[in-house]
Symmetry: D2
Subunit: 314 residues, 4 copies
C-alpha cells in the first residue's frame, strides 16, 4: 500500500503487526522486534537496536504496517510542522490524557516539563477538557503555556500543589492527572525527587480518578545516587491512591492506535499543535546546537529537517 514518493509519518515505536501485542493494538510493547524485552523504538537504548530517526534516511521494518500515509501530499506539506508531531509527542500526550480519563468537562492537571507536557495539554483540550493546568518550573515555558491557553502552575513556589489547584478550580482536586515528567522529576527546591510527581498526583486526583503516566520511568538507573533509584524503585504513597480507588496507567504510547485520527484532526485545523509546542525547524547540522538550547531550558520543540523541507515551510 505504501509507494515510493508517498509522504508518511513514522511512529517512534517499531512493531511487527502480527504478534499478540500488535494484534491487540499494543504496538508499544510489540513482542518480536526487540530480543531483550517487549517494545522496540528507533535510536533509544534497550529498545531493540534500531538505528535512530534523527537522520537523513531511516530503515523502517514492516513498513506497510508501521507507516501512516498522508492522504493528500500537497495539503500535508502545507501542515507539515503540525504533522511531524504525529511521530511521537502528540500520540504520547494523547495516550496520557486518554488513559487519565479526560473527557468533555474534565478538570485536568498536567505535570509538565519539556514540550510533551504541552502536547498532553493540547490533547486534553481536543478531548473536551474544561480546565487544563500545567505545572512546570521553567519560567519561559510557563509563560508560553499561558499564551497558548492553559493555566500555568509555577512549581518553584512551594510544593503544596492542592493549594494551587484550588486557586484555579475552587477545590484541591482535579478529575484527571497526567505525569508527563517521569523519573527525572525535581522538587520545588530543584533537587532530584523521582517520586514527587506521582505522590503529588495522588494528593490532587479525585476519588475514583485516573492518573496517566506517559513520563518515562526506567527499569534501572545505574548512575543514580541511591540504591532504590538504581533499580528503578520509587517511594510511592500508594496507600493514598488506594484510599481513593485511583488507577494508574503507564508506558509508551502505542502510536499506531492514535496517529490516524490525530492526523485527521490536524488536517482539519482542530489542533494547532506546532504552535502549542512552539515548534522550530532546524537543519540536521544544527541538531547539536538545538539540543544544547533545549538543555538550557528554551521553551521550544526543535524539529529536525534533513531535507530542508520544514525550514522553508516555517
Amino acid at each position: 500500500m505504501i509507494e515510493v514518493g508517498d509522504l508518511v509519518s513514522v511512529p517512534f515505536n517499531v512493531a511487527c503487526g502480527r504478534c499478540r501485542a500488535c494484534r491487540e493494538t499494543n504496538t508499544g510493547v510489540c513482542l518480536t522486534v526487540n530480543p531483550g524485552r517487549a517494545g522496540g523504538a528507533y535510536g533509544y537504548v534497550d529498545m531493540g537496536g534500531w538505528i535512530g530517526g534523527q537522520a537523513r534516511y531511516v530503515m523502517v521494518p514492516y513498513a506497510d504496517f508501521n507507516l501512516l500515509k498522508f492522504p493528500d501530499k500537497d495539503k500535508a506539506l502545507s501542515k507539515i510542522m503540525d504533522l511531524t508531531m504525529l511521530t511521537d509527542i502528540l500520540p504520547t500526550g494523547y495516550h496520557g490524557a486518554l488513559t487519565a480519563g479526560v473527557k468533555p468537562g474534565s478538570t485536568v492537571y498536567v505535570a509538565g516539563r519539556w514540550s510533551v507536557g504541552l502536547a498532553t495539554a493540547a490533547s486534553a483540550q481536543l478531548l473536551g477538557a474544561a480546565v487544563i493546568m500545567i505545572g512546570d518550573m521553567n519560567e519561559a515555558r510557563l509563560s508560553h503555556a499561558r499564551k497558548v491557553g492553559f493555566v500555568p502552575i509555577d512549581l518553584t513556589k512551594h510544593d503544596r500543589l492542592g493549594e494551587q489547584v484550588a486557586a484555579v478550580v475552587g477545590e484541591p482536586t482535579v478529575d484527571s492527572v497526567i505525569d508527563a515528567v517521569g523519573f527525572e522529576a525535581k522538587g520545588h527546591g530543584g533537587g532530584d525527587q523521582p517520586a514527587i510527581v506521582l505522590n503529588q498526583a495522588m494528593e490532587i486526583i479525585r476519588p475514583a480518578g485516573a492518573i496517566g503516566i506517559p513520563g518515562l520511568y526506567v527499569t534501572e538507573d545505574p548512575g543514580a545516587h541511591d540504591q532504590a533509584a538504581k533499580t528503578g524503585s520509587l517511594s510511592l504513597r500508594l496507600g493514598l491512591g488506594w484510599s481513593k480507588s485511583n488507577s494508574f496507567h503507564t508506558g509508551q504510547t502505542p502510536v499506531l492506535r492514535y496517529n490516524r485520527q490525530l492526523m485527521i484532526a490536524l488536517l482539519a485545523d482542530r489542533l494547532p499543535i506546532a504552535k502549542i509546542v512552539n515548534a522550530k525547524a532546524i537543519s540536521l547540522e544544527d541538531a547539536p546546537k538545538g539540543y544544547a538550547e533545549f538543555d538550557k531550558g528554551i521553551a521550544a520543540k526543535f524539529v529536525l529537517d534533513p531535507h530542508g523541507l520544514l525550514v522553508k515551510a516555517a
Copy 2:
C-alpha cells in the same frame, strides 16, 4: 421498595446514592457519608463512624439505595451461605479480577492470603479464566485451594515467582495479576515486606497487562517500623511496570456495581462460593473464638449468624 420482612444483602460500603461518585457507580468512594474523606463503611476505622455489621441489628442509611433484596426469600434461604458472601468478599474479589482484565482464556495469578484470595480466584473462574494460580504461605489454605480447583503456588519455597508461574503455564508471565493481600505482605522468609506483592506482580504480568489491587494499602500505619511505612509509602519498582505498559487498579470494590449480577449467578448455581472459601457459620457469641482461629491460620471463612439462621442451614 424495601419492606419489613424482606431478606436483603447489605454492602459493606455505605453510600448515599446521589453524590457524583454514587451517580457514576463509584459507591466505594461516596462523597457524603464520611466527613473525613471519600468512602464510608460499617465498623471500620476512618470510614465514617458507622456502627459495625457484626451485630444483631445494623442501621442502614439510604436503605432503598443500599440494600439488595433477594427476589425469592425461600430460595435465598436455601443458598444463604453463598449469598452472605455478596456483602463483601465476593464483590471484592470480582472487582479485583475484573479490573485486572480477566476474561475468557486468561491466565491469572492471585496473590492470596485469607479467603479474599479464594473469592478472587472464584471470580476469575466465573469470568472464564483458563488457568488460575493462588500464591499463599499457609499450607492448609494451599491444600484447600487445590481441592476447589485452583493451582496452588507455595510462596514459602523461594521468591522467584516467575519460575513457579512458568512451571504451570510454560512462560514466566500471566495475563492478569490480582493483589488480594495488601500492605501486610510478607516475604518468603516470613518478615514484613509491604511492597513484595506488587513488585512481584510487575515481574510476572505480561506486557500491557493489568494489575488489580483489592488488597488494602493504608494511608498511614503509625505502628510500622520504618518511616516510609508510617506514611503508607512503598518502595515500588514502577520502572519495571512502566517498561511493560502495565496499569494498576486500586481501592475498595463498589459493591453495588456488582452484587445484583453476582446474586443471580449464585442463585443459578454458577459459583459455589461458600464451598470455595470454606465458609463456616458460627453464632455471634462464638465470634471471638472464630477470630482467634482465623488468626491461627485456619483455612475457613467464618460467617456470623446472629439469628441462628445459618447454623441450621449449615
Copy 3:
C-alpha cells in the same frame, strides 16, 4: 443536599435513583416512575403522567437524585441561556454523538431537523470531531448551521447522500452517523419516509462504524397512513448495515449520566451552545406564539422563561 434557593437543572427524565436501571446509570429507562413501561418524563404522553416542565413550577420527585445544582449561582445566572440546554437538548445530542463513537478526528454526519441536530453537532465538536456535516431541508437552519461552524448538507436537492458526503470529505462514508430526526423523517421530495434517515445512515457509515439514534421512533403511531407505521414498524435495509458490521444505539438520553460534565464545559466556555442552537428566551405567555413560529420552520430554539430571568439576560 439541595436547599431552598439553589439554582438547579431538572433533567427531562424522571428517575428514582435506586432501581437496577438507575443504579447502572440508565436513568432514561428508570423502572419505577412509570407504571406503563420503563422510563418517565415530564409532560409527555405515555411517560408516567408527570406534569410538564413548561410551567411556572414543577414537582420533582426524588429531587436529591434528579437535580443538578449549579455550584456558583451568580456565574450560573450569567450563563443561564447556555445552561438551560442541560435539561434536554444538549445531553440528547451528546448521547447521540457518544454512542455513535465520535472522538478526536472523526468525520461525522448528523441528520438534523430542529435544533437537536445542532446540539448533536455541537457535541461532536466538543468530542473532537474533525468534520461535522448537518443534513437538513430547511434553508434558514442550513444557513445558520454554516454560520456556527458546521458543513450544511441540503437534502432537498436529491437523496444520493453519499455523493454529497464525498464532496466534503473525499469519500462517500463517514466515521459516525447520528439520526437526530426520528420517525417524522421526510424524503427529499417532502413526503413522509420514516425509514429514510436510517437507510441513508447505513449507506454512508463506514465499515464497523456506529449509528447513534437519539431521534424519536415511536412504538405506535395510530395516526399513520399505513399499517406498518401504525405499529412503529420501519422497512430497514438491515442487510446493508450487517454487511458492514455496523451497530445501532437507540433511545432517550440518560440526562444524569452527562449533565454534570457538560455543565462544567459550559461554565468554562468550551461550548457556546445557546448561540449554536440560536436560543431565544420568551415568556411563558408567549409560548404558543413560539411553538407556532417553530412549526413554521424558524431556525431558533425557544427557551421558556416563567420568571423573567432569561428575557433580561438575553
Copy 4:
C-alpha cells in the same frame, strides 16, 4: 513466525493486517482483500473470490497475520475436534454473546437454528451467564440443547416468546438476546418471516439491553418473494427497541480478535465445544452426504477432515 509443519487455525475472514479496519481489530471488514466491498472470506459469494476452505489445501494470504499457531502440537492434536471450532463457529457465537453484553449473572436468550446457536450459548456460559435459553424449531436440536446444559425453548408451539421466557426466569425479559439465525428465519407456522427474530428480540430484551446479531442478513436476496426482501429490507419494530434504549450489534465476527483467548480456554478444558455442538468428523469425500443430512435437520456439526486426522481422533 509461521513455519512448515506448524498446526494452525485459519480464520474464515481474510484480512490484510495493515488497513485501518485491521489495525482497529475489525478484521471482519478488512478494507483491502475484497475489491467489491469491506470484508473477505473463503469460499463465499461476494467475499473477494478467495477459494474455499473445504478443501485439502488452502492458500492463505498474509499468513503471518491471519494464522493462529497452536503452541503445543501434540496437545492440540488431542483436542483437535474442539480447536477446529476456532475457525468460525465459536468466535461467531462469542462475538454475538459479547456484543449482546453477556457477563456473569446474565440471563440470555439465543435464537438458535443450526449449530451456531449452540456455539453462542456455549460462549454465553463461558462469559458467566446464569441462565441460557435456546429457541429452536428442531426437536432433535432442542433435545440436544437440554442435554448439554441449556434451556430449550420450543418455537413451534406459539410465537408469544415473552411467555416462554417468563416461565423460565420469572419475568418476560432477559438481559441479552442473540440472533444466531438471520434472515432465513421462520415463524412458528414454518413460513419465511425474515424479521421475526429481531422483532421478538425487541419484545423480550430488557430496557437498556443489547442485541447481538451474528446471524446473517443479506444486502440483497434476488430469490426472495417480495420486493422488500429482494433489497435486504426488513419490517422492524424499531420503535419498540427505541422506547427501551436498546442497542443492536451486527456483522461477521472478527475472528482474530477472539481466537487466541478462546484457544487457551479450550486447551484448558473450560469449554467442551465439540461436545456442545455435537461435532462429527467426516472425510472430504463424505462432505456432500454431510450437507444432505445437515439440511434434513440432524443436530450435528460436521467437521471435514481432508487428511484423515479427525476421523481417527473421533
